[in-house]
Amino acid sequence: MRRAGEGFHQQRVDTVKSSQVTVENVSKSFGDFFALQNASLTIANGGFYSLLGPSGCGKTTLLRIIGGFETPSQGDVCFDGVSILSLPPNKRHVNTIFQNYALFPHLTVFENVAFPLRLKKTAAAGIKKAVQENLELVRMETESKKYPRQLSGGQKQRVAIARALINQPRVLLLDEPLSALDAKLRQHMLLELDAIHDKVGITFIYVTHDQAEALSVSDQVCVLNKGEIQQIGSPAEIYESPANEFVARFIGETNYLHGTVAALTDEEHALFESPDYGSFSIYLDKKVQPGSKVALTVRPEKIRIAPQKPDKLPPDVNVLHGTVEDMIYTGFQTKYFIRVSQNKEPLIVFRQHVQYFMDEKPITWKDKVCLWWNSKDSFMVEVSK
C-alpha cells in the first residue's frame, strides 16, 4: 500500500537541498562561564547527528549557535563550507523543533503549519497544498482544524515537526524534542522521527541528555561535558570504546577495575595487576606505557556469571570470583552486585533470563560465583587525577 505523503516526499528527496554543517573551534562564554570551548565537528549532509550530554554541558548552546539564536565568542559555523554566522536565523535555511513544541495557542493546527508560508505571502492554494502534504507526512491531516490545547503531547510534537519542515530547511535542529513525552510515547516518536528523517533526507541535529535516544537513532554522536567535546563517534564506538571515564560513565552502566599495567606481553596484550583483583592478562585497546595506572572497564552485560567456574572456558577470558551481595530482579534480567574485593565497590553484572526455569538453581544472595568475560570486551580508560 502506498503511504500517505509518500509521493510528495519521494519527489522532494530529489530536489531537496540538505547541508553539511561544520563547526570550527567555536567557543561561547557568558561572562566568566565557558558554555562551550573550542568545539569542532563536522555533520554529514543528510546525517542524523546527536549532541549528547548532561544539562549544562553546552549542547543547547551549540544548537542555538547553529540556529542563529546565539553568537559564538569565537570560531565559525559553515553550511557546505560557507560561513553563516553573519546571517540572521531566518536566512539560514534552518528550522528548530523546540522542547515545549512552541505551537501558537491562538492558531489551529492548519494555521500553525501555514504560519511560515503566510509570512512569505504564498498564494492560498499553494499554502493549502503544502500544509496538507506536511500534515500527511506526520499523519496529522485529520486534526487540522483543532487548536493546540486539544492535542496530546505526541500530536503537538508532530505538528511542530510539520511546521518546522514546511520552509524546506536544509538542516533541522531538534532541541530535546521528546523530553516532555512519557517513556512509551518517546520510544514511538523516536522511530517516527527516524522515519521522517529517512523521508525528507535533510540533516538532523538532535540535542538530548538521554543516551538511549542518542544511541538508537543517530549515525554520529558527539558527547559533551562542561562545554568540551569528549568524544565523537558512531553509537557503537561511543558505547563499546568510550574515550574517557566521563563517556564510559555517562553512556550506560559500567564497572571499573583500578590497577596498573605491569608489563606489555605482546602487541595486543598486557599484564594487569591490582591489589583488589589480582593479576591477569588484558587486551590492549589503546597504547599505554608499562607502569601506568589505568581503570579497566567492563560493561555489566559483557560479564558472564555461573555458580562454579566452568570446566571449559574459551581462550582469552578474564576470570574473577566473588559473592552475591545484592540482586535486583527486573523480569527480563537480574542485576547482580558481586563483591570481589572488600575495598572496592561490588561489580555489577547483568544476567539475561533467556532460560530462567532451565537453571538448576538460580543464583541468589550470598552465593559464591565465578565471573568471566572476553578480554576484548574490556577497555581501558585514563584515570582522572
Partner: protein, 278 residues
C-alpha cells in the same frame, strides 16, 4: 453533616452591593422620571421632562465631547501601556519598575492634577522656560482645552492599563516569539502576530479599566478643562449642585451609565467572538 456557609460568606458583599449600588441606582433611575422640586429634590409626579431636555444641542455636544475624550484617552493609554508593560515584564528589575509606577499613586489625586496646572499654566514650568528662552513673548495656553484633559487623564489613569497588560505579558511564553522568528518572522511581526493575540484578555481588561473611569471623570475636566470642553460628569455636577435640577442630573447619570455599559458589552462581545472563533 456539612453546614451550608454560602449565605454567610456572600452576606457582607451582597449587603454592600445592595445598599451602595443597587439601591442608589434605582433611586437615580426613579428620580429621572420625576418632576423637579423648586429648591432641588423631586416632586412625586411622573414626568419625562428630564429626558426631553436632554435632547438639546448643548447636552449632546457635551456627550459627544465625553465620548471623544474617553475613546482617545483609552486608545492612547493602551498604546502607551503596551510597550511599557512589555518592557517591565522583560526587565530583570520588574518589581522596582512596578514600584515606580505605583509610587505617584500615593500622592493625592487632586494634587497630581494641580501639579499639571503648575507645569502647563501661564506662569508654569513650560511657559517660564519658553519665555526665558525667548521662543515666545506671551504665555502659550496649554490648559483649559481638550488636549489638557486627555493628557492629565492619561497620566492619572494609565497604571490601570499597565497592570493588567503587565500581568498577561509576564505569563506569555516568549519561546513562542523565538519559534516565530525561527519560522521566518521578524521580531516586530512575531510580537504583533503571536504576542498580541495571546494577551487579548489583558488588552480587554486594560480597555475596560481605563474607559470606564475616564467616561465618568469630572474632576480632571473641571480643573484643567474649559467650559467648552466639559464632560458629562461636569454637567451632572452642575445640575445637582448649582441648577439643582435633580431629575435632569439623574437622567444624565442614567445615560452615562447606559452608554458605559453598552460600550463595555459591545467591546466584550467583539473580543469574545475573536476568542470563540479559535
Amino acid at each position: 453533616m456539612r453546614k451550608n456557609y454560602g449565605p454567610i460568606y456572600v452576606g457582607p458583599v451582597a449587603f454592600w452591593l445592595c445598599a451602595f449600588l443597587s439601591v442608589p441606582l434605582l433611586i437615580t433611575l426613579s428620580y429621572s422620571f420625576l418632576e423637579k422640586g423648586l429648591y432641588g429634590g423631586v416632586e412625586p409626579h411622573l414626568s419625562l421632562a428630564a429626558y426631553r431636555s436632554l435632547f438639546n444641542t448643548a447636552v449632546l455636544k457635551v456627550l459627544l465631547n465625553t465620548i471623544i475624550i474617553a475613546v482617545l484617552s483609552t486608545a492612547m493609554m493602551v498604546a502607551l501601556a503596551l510597550p511599557t508593560a512589555y518592557y517591565i515584564a522583560r526587565s530583570p528589575v520588574k518589581n522596582l519598575l512596578l514600584m515606580l509606577i505605583i509610587i505617584p499613586f500615593w500622592t493625592n489625586f487632586l494634587i497630581r492634577i494641580y501639579a499639571w496646572i503648575a507645569i502647563l499654566g501661564s506662569n508654569g514650568l513650560i511657559n517660564s522656560f519658553l519665555m526665558g528662552a525667548g521662543l515666545t513673548d506671551s504665555p502659550v495656553q496649554f490648559l483649559y482645552n481638550r488636549g489638557a484633559i486627555i493628557l492629565v487623564i492619561v497620566y492619572t489613569t494609565i497604571p490601570f492599563a499597565i497592570f493588567p497588560l503587565y500581568s498577561t505579558i509576564e505569563k506569555f511564553d516568549f519561546s513562542l516569539i523565538e519559534a516565530a522568528m525561527d519560522l521566518g518572522a521578524s521580531k516586530t511581526v512575531a510580537l504583533w502576530k503571536i504576542m498580541i493575540p495571546n494577551i487579548r484578555s489583558g488588552i480587554t481588561t486594560a480597555v475596560l479599566f481605563t474607559f470606564i473611569p475616564t467616561f465618568g471623570n469630572f474632576a480632571v475636566p473641571k480643573l484643567v478643562g474649559g467650559t467648552s470642553s466639559w464632560m458629562l460628569g461636569n454637567l451632572i455636577e452642575r445640575e445637582l449642585n448649582i441648577t439643582r435640577n435633580w431629575p435632569l442630573a439623574s437622567s444624565m447619570s442614567v445615560v452615562l451609565t447606559s452608554v458605559t455599559m453598552l460600550a463595555v458589552l459591545f467591546f466584550m462581545r467583539s473580543q469574545n467572538k475573536k476568542e470563540s472563533s479559535r
